[in-house]
Amino acid sequence: MIYDPIDIALLLGKIALVFFVILTLAAYLVFAERKVLAWIQDRKGPNRVGPFGLLQPLADLIKLLTKEDFRPIGADKWLFYLAPAMAAIPAIMIFAIVPFGAPLTLFGHTVQLQVSDLNVGLLLFMALSSVAVYGVALGGWASNSKYALLGSIRGLAQLISYELSMGLSLVPVVMLARSFRLSDIVNAQAGCWFIVYQPLAFMIFLISIAAECKRIPFDLPEAEGELVAGFHTEYSGMRFGLFFVGEYINIIVLGGLATTFFLGGWHGPFLPPAVWFSAKVLAFAFLFIWVRGTLPRLRYDQLMHFGWKILTPLALVNILVTGWWLVLRG
């Protein structure tokens, strides 16, 4: 296999672009969330740092970086230090498989606007999202604090349960696209978005990703009313910042995946593909913020009941119906 230097340079450029865009977007998503929540509650939100408060993420970053990096007595040192990275890295890595624009032609090379077009892309997403559990679980366990441990146990149970319904809700998508490759899935939606064929699967996937990124109404692992701050109670400074930013990266990435699987990815009329893709992702981010401003938190037994007794059977029935429909259609 001969590697062309231009190909390698383009690949590194794409990785740098994705990192830059995702991290900046995550920081500004925190800002947007504070703003929108404030508007929902008839407040103004952050407006002191810079024009309209636009430099607030920078101020937050400086604050987090200069804070004391505190480790509680009795904490498991290495796992305590590793856990934030374990939570944030899989979230960023998932974006490697998301196609964020139509293929371009640069310097005579066709460039996929996607870091890596794996033929098992969807499975890689499942694998990395199942590994993201470790950050939550080990962070809470290593803190040597009862609140953190309770939060991490809740997080473990919740993430395992909702991963199941998330995976099952993606099976009909694979059946329709006949591929695990994300670019194939996007291209299969050139005519008609899969949300038209699979509204139920879309709803199940939406609810499951809300639970996966631990957002209200599924924020039990960090329920601040009950568990102080859940699994990251004992974290401070930039380690807390990693957990925090990881959560917002997760929102962007899962929004991007929902766009790819159900809303036709970068397909759309008139506007350039990358613009369509970012508009859809931001719409998902807004939806999550809006839901956070509206709904109360579920109780733990309601969460488990909903996941195992409603979402998972619904997803199974949906697979069965889709299978029959595909067979009968021929």
Partner: protein, 170 residues
């Protein structure tokens, strides 16, 4: 390509990953604390998955991560966190008598690896990456009956779990 005699990047990657897998597994066995053992085992699974990926079996690599690292080990950790294991640091080392059977089994495995390595001629040329389609056809056409039997077994397990977990009416 530089020719077959020179090791390329994938070979170096293989040796690094294999070392990580072996060291991770050894540490997982010798570590006394169960949570640390799980972390070592998970890192070993990751390098195994990457090795599968290098061997042009991406599907197996993904299943390795999803099933073993993402489900089985997480459940182990869940159980460890839920149960109070007491002072795990004070668990005694196994005595010689308990070592006998593992040594015997390990010897058999090492011997068989040695036999295979001695008769090693050349790797059969890989027919290219195994696609999902090939995998699915083999699994559900060729070994369809076995899959059905295993799924029946899982059904029995589910029914058994329901029976054990039902609310007893006095």
């Amino acid at each position: 390509m530089y020719g077959d005699c020179y090791p390329d990047m994938e070979t170096y990657l293989f040796y690094i990953l294999a070392a990580v897998a072996v060291i991770g597994t050894i540490l997982a066995i010798t570590e006394k604390h169960p949570v640390h053992a799980i972390v070592y085992l998970v890192s070993s699974f990751f390098s195994l998955a990457t090795i599968f990926f290098l061997l042009a079996a991406p599907l197996i690599a993904m299943f390795e991560v999803i099933i073993y690292a993402g489900a089985v080990m997480v459940l182990f950790m869940f159980v460890i966190m839920m149960l109070d294991l007491g002072r795990t640091d004070e668990a005694g080392r196994p005595v010689l008598k308990q070592w006998l059977l593992p040594i015997l089994l390990g010897g058999i495995i090492l011997a068989s690896i040695g036999v295979i390595a001695a008769g090693y001629a050349s790797a059969p040329s890989a027919p290219g990456a195994i696609t999902v389609r090939d995998f699915a056809l083999t699994l559900f056409r060729k070994y369809g009956v076995a899959v059905e039997i295993i799924s029946m077994q899982l059904l029995f397990a589910v029914v058994g779990a329901l029976y054990l977990g039902r609310r007893r009416t006095p």
